[in-house]
Symmetry: C2
Subunit: 153 residues, 2 copies
């Protein structure tokens, strides 16, 4: 199969939502995802988008088979930074270079908007992903913990 | 001493920059900080601020003795989220509850802007900070790695 990488548009929202759900299942945290389809639409494609998403589209079927979802962060050491929140490829389309192409696209995007750093997180057992990231020159830092405080009000 | 927590203003920039530098030294990464004073000013106090900072001010001397620097992130599980990039208290003013008060302020701010999650990162050897975070109900996740790709062009 061939595929193209392009900016996501509003009509991709159901695919984006579906792939996020797939990743939550893969990460054994399906119940953690409380985000609705409407929120994904409004948050990404309103007046002040909270994220910028790219999709991988099958050139023949025109189906979305992968996404890379990003947003800006701020490093007090490096300044404006890009964060890769999710890099997801459908299970049946893995091993075809789609994740690598999406990541390359995000790296190019980061250069185009002149960020000094692109950051993301990976589960320690996801060795395939870690190998991919290191092949792109990324550093995997093992001495930081991620801290989260949930607000369930 | 007494202290107050307030929003940072442009005239706090030199203190913010100084405290960021202090933290970089504490984290044994002084050379990693390439951000200039002008960048800290423009990035935080321009038309489209990239971060929102709070300061702790000594009630008597009116000196800034601590900062909490935040910005918005986006969780594909929880939606709009707040990130605490830096929580810094001057070495000679630690142990007075200033860090705890700054963190409480950030948590209140997060509730006021209706985020479902506040997130941050901590070095694995910083046990005092970890104890403080856990006392606020935060979860310290030990199974994620932080990944960074620097763009040095």
């Amino acid at each position: 199969m061939g595929f193209i990488i392009r900016d996501a548009v509003r009509s991709d929202v159901s695919d984006i939502h579906r792939l996020i759900k797939e990743l939550a299942v893969f990460e054994e945290a399906e119940n953690e995802m409380v985000l609705s389809l409407e929120e994904v639409a409004n948050d990404g494609f309103g007046d002040q988008p909270l994220y910028h998403c790219f999709v991988a589209e099958d050139s023949e079927t025109h189906k979305v088979v992968g996404i890379a979802l990003t947003y800006l962060r701020y490093s007090t050491w490096k300044g404006k930074a890009l964060h890769l929140e999710d890099l997801i490829v459908e299970v049946e389309h893995r091993g075809k270079g789609i994740g690598s192409a999406l990541l390359d696209h995000v790296i190019s995007y980061g250069k185009s908007i002149k960020v000094r750093r692109i950051g993301w997180e990976v589960l320690d057992w996801n060795t395939n992903a870690i190998a991919l990231y290191e092949s792109k020159g990324a550093k995997v830092l093992k001495n930081w913990y991620v801290v989260q405080l949930e607000n369930n009000e």
